[in-house]
Symmetry: C2
C-alpha cells in the first residue's frame, strides 16, 4: 500500500510535469507561428516563460556583433531596460551569450560573472537568475534571462528543462524571422532601385538629370549631401558637376586631380570606397571642406562606369544620424551607381549631339555670312537678341530652344541668292530687291523635308512681316504674326541699324532705340520692344 | 488496493498518452522549423503522422482553387499518387477539403463520400481512413489523410486528437511558407525588372533597342513571340516595328488601324489586355495570322505610355506550355512596359535629333550647291558612294556614320569661295585654282571649334590627296592618307567624271571606270577602287 501510494504520487508528479510541458508547447507554438511581428512574439514568449517558471522578472537579449541588446523585458522595472545595450562577455547574460552555456544561480552576488551595475542602476534587488542561450546550431542568437523565483524559492533543474522549450522555439522563430527580414530588406532595396531607375531614365537633360540623381541619392542613402564628379579628359581632373545639400552652391567649382582625395582614389581604382571617419583616412583631401566650409564626417564614394570605362564618381557625405555608411548602403549605392552611369551616359550623348547640331548650323551660317563683311556675325547677334527677349518673357526652355534655332536659321534662305545681289556695294534695284525678299520662303522650302524643323518655320517665314501689314512675304497684320517672328524682327532690325551697311554707316545705339520706339505699333510689337529695351539696359549689349 | 491499482493503471495510460503527444510535438517542431524547403517538411511530417498513428499509408493534399493536389504521399503505392489532382468536393479528401470537417471512417466503402476510383486505379485495398482539414482560421489549406490502421485495427479518437497536432503545425508552416514564397516571387520579379531596365537603358539605337526588348520579353514572359507596335501619327495606324520569334521576319510589315484588333484596342483604351484564348475574343484580328502564317493562341498586350501619352503597344504571344498568361505575368509585363516606354522614348528622341542633324547639314549643303548647276547633287552622290564602299568593307556602324558625315561635309569649305570663281563658266586661272584648293583647309578651320566633329576632319582635309604625293593640301603619300579620305576621293572623282562640267560634258560610265583603274596606284587606292567597282556592278548606280 505504502509503495503503491508512493508510485501513484510519483506518477502524479510526472503527469503534472508532462501536462505543464504540453501546455507550454501548445501555447508557445501558438505564439511563435506569427513570424511577421517579431517584437510581439518575443514579448509574448517572455511573458509565458516568466509565468511558467514563476519568476518575478525576465528579459530576452539578442546578439548584434559584440553587443547584446535587451529586446523584451518583463517585471517591475522592465520599462527601464528597453533597448539597453551590453557588451558581449560582460555580466551573467553577457557570459551566457558569449559561451553558449546555461547558467543557474540562486545567489547571484556570489557568482563570478555577476555584474551588479544594472541591478543597482534600476534599484532592483536580484537574488537568483536562470539564464539560457538561444542557439541555432552553434551560433548564439541571444539569451533568455529569468530573475527571482517567486515566494523566495530557488530555481531548480525543472525550471531549466522547461525553459529549454522556450529557447529552442525562440531560436527557430528568430531564424525564420531573420530570413523574412532579409527578404523584406531585399524587396525594399530592389523597389528603391526600380523607382530610381525609372526616375533617372526619364530625362535626357544632363543638368536636370544630375540634380535628380543627387536628390534621390541623399534621400535613399540618408546622407546630408551628395555630389557627382565628372572626368575632364583634357586636364585629367575630376570636377563637381553639381552638389546638393546645404553647401551645394559653394561646392560647384571644385576640381580634384586624378588619384587625389577620396574621389580621385575611387576613380583611379574603380572600386567603391567607404570612409566611416574622414579624419582617420589619409586619402581625405581637406581642401574641398576648406573651400566650402562644409564639415565632412563620413563618405561613401562609387565609381561611375560605362562598359568598363570610368566616366565619373558619385559620393554621399555624412550619413544622417550617429552611424556611418554600412555594407547595405554600399550595395544599394553600387546598384544606383550603375543605373546613374547609364543615365548620365545617355544624357551626355544626347547633349553632345544637340550641341553638335547647333554648332554645326552656326558654323555653316557663319561661313555663308563671312563672305559679306557687312553681314558678318549678323545671325549670331540676332539669335542672341531673340533668346534674351524670350528669356525675359519667361518662356519655357523648349520654347527658348525653338527661338534660338529659328534665329540661327532666319536668313538661311539667302544662301541661294547670287553674290552679285547679296554683295552688291550700292543700292539694290527693284528686281534685285524682289530676289532678296524671297529669302524667307526659300528657307522654308529648303527645310520643308526636315519634319523635326517644322516648329521653326514660323520664325523664319515671317520675320519680315510688319504689324501694320506692309511686310513680306504675306503682309500679315498684328497678332496674326507669330510671336517668334515678332521677336526675331526686333533683333534683326536693331542689328541692321547698329552695323555698317554698303549704303550707310552704323547708327548710334541711341538712334536705333529711338527708331525702334518710333516704329512700334506700325512695324514692331510695342510690348516686345519694351522688353528688348529693358534687356539692353540690363546687359549693356 | 484494487482501486489504487486501477488508478495507477489509469495514470500510467494517461502518462503514455502525454509522453506520445510530447514526443510528437518535439519532433514536429523540429521538422516544421525549416520553412524554406516545404516539399521536404510536408514529406517528413507525413512520415511522422503515419508512424505515430500506426497507419499503413497517408497523404497530404493542398488546395489550389477548385482542386486539391497530392503534395506528399506515403505507403506501398505512394509513387503512383504524386502530384495527382482531384476536384474539390469529390471523394473523402475532397469532401473534407470542401467542408473543413474531419472524417474518421473504419469502413470506407460504406461512407457516402467514398470514391473508389483512385484505390482501384492503384490497386490498393482501403479499409479505414482518418482525414483532417489543414485550416488557417476558416480557410482550408488542404487535408491530411491517413489510411489503414496497422494490424487490422480501427482508427480511434486518440488518433484524431494526435493528428490535430500535425494539422495545426502544417497550417502554420504552410502560412509561413506562403509568405516566403510570395516574397521570393516578388524578389524574382524585381530582379528581372532591374536587369531588364539596365539592359534596355544601355542603348539609344532605336532598332537595336527594340530587338533587345523583344528578346527579353520572350524570355521573361516565357512567350513564343513578341512584338512592339508604334503609332503612325499621320495615318493613325499601329505598325510593327519588329517582331521576333519563328515568324518574326514575315510579320515586320503589318499595320493595324487604330482601335482595331487586340493591339488597337489596347492602344485606344490605354489598358493592359489579357486574352487567354484568341478564338473566343471578338477583338482578335485574324488578318495578321493569315499574313504571317502564325498561329496565335493567347495574347498579353500592354500600352506603352510616356507622361500619359500612348506611344505604342507591346505584346507577347502564346505562353510556352499549356497555360495562358496569368495575373503575375500581367504585373511584370506592365512594369517592363513602363521601363520599355521610357527607353523607346529616349531612343526616339536621340534618333530624331540625329536625323535632324544630318538632314539639316544635307539641306544647307544642297542649298549652297544648288547655286551651281554643275555641282548640284554632287555631295549627296559622293556621300552615297562613300557609304557604299564603307559598308562593302564591313566597317562598324559608328565608322560608317563617320564616313557619311565626312562625305556630307567634304566640300563645305567651298562656301567661302566667291561665286565668280566657283561659278566661272570657263577654265580657272592658276590664281583662281589656288583659291579653290583652299577649300579642304577652310572647311577644317571653319569646323575646328566643334569638338564633336573632330573625327571627320581627316576625310575633309585629305580628300584631294593622291597616292603618289601629288595631291593637296599636304602632298601626303600612300597609306599616310587616312582611309576615309582615300574612300571619299574615289567617289568624288567618279562623280566629277560622270557629270557635266563647264569645260566638258559628262564621261560615259565605262570611260570613268577605265580612268579610275588607270589612275589606281598613282591617284587612287587600288584595293578601294576594286571594292567600289564591285559595288557599282551590284547596285547598278
Amino acid at each position: 500500500m505504502e509503495s503503491a501510494n508512493d508510485e501513484l504520487l510519483q506518477k502524479e508528479a510526472e503527469l503534472n510535469n508532462l501536462r505543464l510541458r504540453l501546455k507550454v508547447l501548445e501555447r508557445v507554438t501558438e505564439v511563435a507561428a506569427n513570424i511577421e511581428d517579431m517584437k510581439r512574439v518575443l514579448s509574448q514568449l517572455l511573458d509565458l516563460a516568466v509565468e511558467i517558471t514563476s519568476s518575478e522578472a525576465g528579459s530576452i537579449l539578442l546578439r548584434h556583433g559584440d553587443y547584446i541588446t535587451i529586446e523584451a523585458a518583463e517585471g517591475p522595472k522592465a520599462n527601464l531596460l528597453t533597448d539597453l545595450k551590453l557588451p558581449l562577455g560582460s555580466g551573467i547574460a553577457g557570459w551566457v551569450a558569449k559561451t553558449g552555456v546555461s547558467l543557474l544561480s540562486n545567489n547571484v552576488k556570489k557568482d563570478e560573472h555577476w555584474d551588479s551595475r544594472i541591478a543597482e542602476a534600476i534599484q532592483y534587488e536580484t537574488k537568483n537568475i536562470l539564464c539560457l542561450p538561444i542557439k541555432s546550431g552553434i551560433e548564439v542568437l541571444g539569451v533568455l534571462e529569468l530573475i527571482n523565483k517567486r515566494n523566495n524559492k530557488d530555481f531548480v533543474q525543472d525550471d531549466l528543462d522547461i525553459s529549454l522549450i522556450f529557447t529552442s522555439f525562440l531560436a527557430q522563430t528568430l531564424e525564420n524571422s531573420r530570413l523574412l527580414r532579409e527578404m523584406n530588406d531585399r524587396i525594399k532595396e530592389l523597389s528603391i532601385l526600380i523607382e530610381t531607375s525609372t526616375l533617372i531614365g526619364s530625362t535626357l537633360d544632363l543638368k536636370q538629370l544630375l540634380h535628380i540623381i543627387m536628390d534621390k541619392l541623399k534621400e535613399v542613402m540618408r546622407a546630408e549631401a551628395s555630389s557627382i564628379f565628372q572626368i575632364d579628359e583634357v586636364t585629367n581632373e575630376l570636377f563637381f558637376l553639381v552638389a546638393t545639400g546645404e553647401k551645394g552652391q559653394e561646392a560647384k567649382e571644385i576640381r580634384v586631380p586624378w588619384g587625389k582625395g577620396i574621389v580621385g582614389w575611387t576613380a583611379e581604382k574603380g572600386e567603391i570606397l567607404n570612409v566611416p571617419d574622414v579624419t582617420k583616412d589619409k586619402r581625405f583631401f581637406i581642401g574641398v571642406d576648406e573651400k566650402t566650409k562644409w564639415k565632412t564626417r563620413s563618405i561613401l564614394a562609387v565609381p561611375l562606369k560605362i562598359k568598363g570605362k570610368i566616366i565619373g564618381v558619385a559620393e554621399v557625405l555624412n550619413k544622417i544620424g550617429d552611424e556611418s555608411f554600412d555594407e547595405r548602403d554600399e550595395k544599394i549605392f553600387e546598384a544606383i551607381g550603375k543605373q546613374a552611369a547609364i543615365a548620365i551616359d545617355n544624357a551626355r550623348l544626347y547633349t553632345d549631339l544637340s550641341e553638335l547640331f547647333k554648332s554645326s548650323i552656326r558654323a555653316l551660317v557663319n561661313a555663308v555670312e563671312a563672305k559679306d563683311k557687312y553681314t558678318r556675325g549678323h545671325t549670331e547677334r540676332v539669335t542672341e537678341y531673340s533668346v534674351i527677349i524670350a528669356k525675359e518673357l519667361g518662356l519655357l526652355p523648349a520654347e527658348i530652344e525653338r527661338i534660338e534655332l529659328s534665329g540661327l536659321l532666319h536668313d538661311i534662305g539667302k544662301i541661294g541668292i547670287p553674290d552679285r545681289i547679296l554683295l552688291k556695294p550700292g543700292k539694290l534695284t527693284n528686281e534685285e530687291f524682289e530676289v532678296v525678299k524671297e529669302h524667307p520662303v526659300r528657307a522654308v522650302k529648303m527645310l520643308k523635308p526636315i519634319k523635326q524643323l517644322s516648329t521653326v518655320f514660323d520664325g523664319i517665314q515671317y520675320h519680315h512681316e510688319k504689324l501694320d501689314g506692309t511686310g513680306y512675304p504675306e503682309g500679315l497684320k498684328g497678332d496674326t504674326i507669330p510671336l517668334v517672328a515678332r521677336i526675331i524682327t526686333i533683333g534683326d532690325a536693331f542689328d541692321a541699324m547698329t552695323t555698317d551697311r554698303p549704303y550707310r554707316d552704323a547708327l548710334a545705339k541711341e538712334e536705333a532705340i529711338r527708331r525702334l520706339k518710333q516704329d512700334s505699333h506700325t512695324q514692331f510689337d510695342p510690348e516686345l520692344v519694351e522688353v528688348f529695351l529693358k534687356c539692353l539696359e540690363k546687359v549693356a549689349l
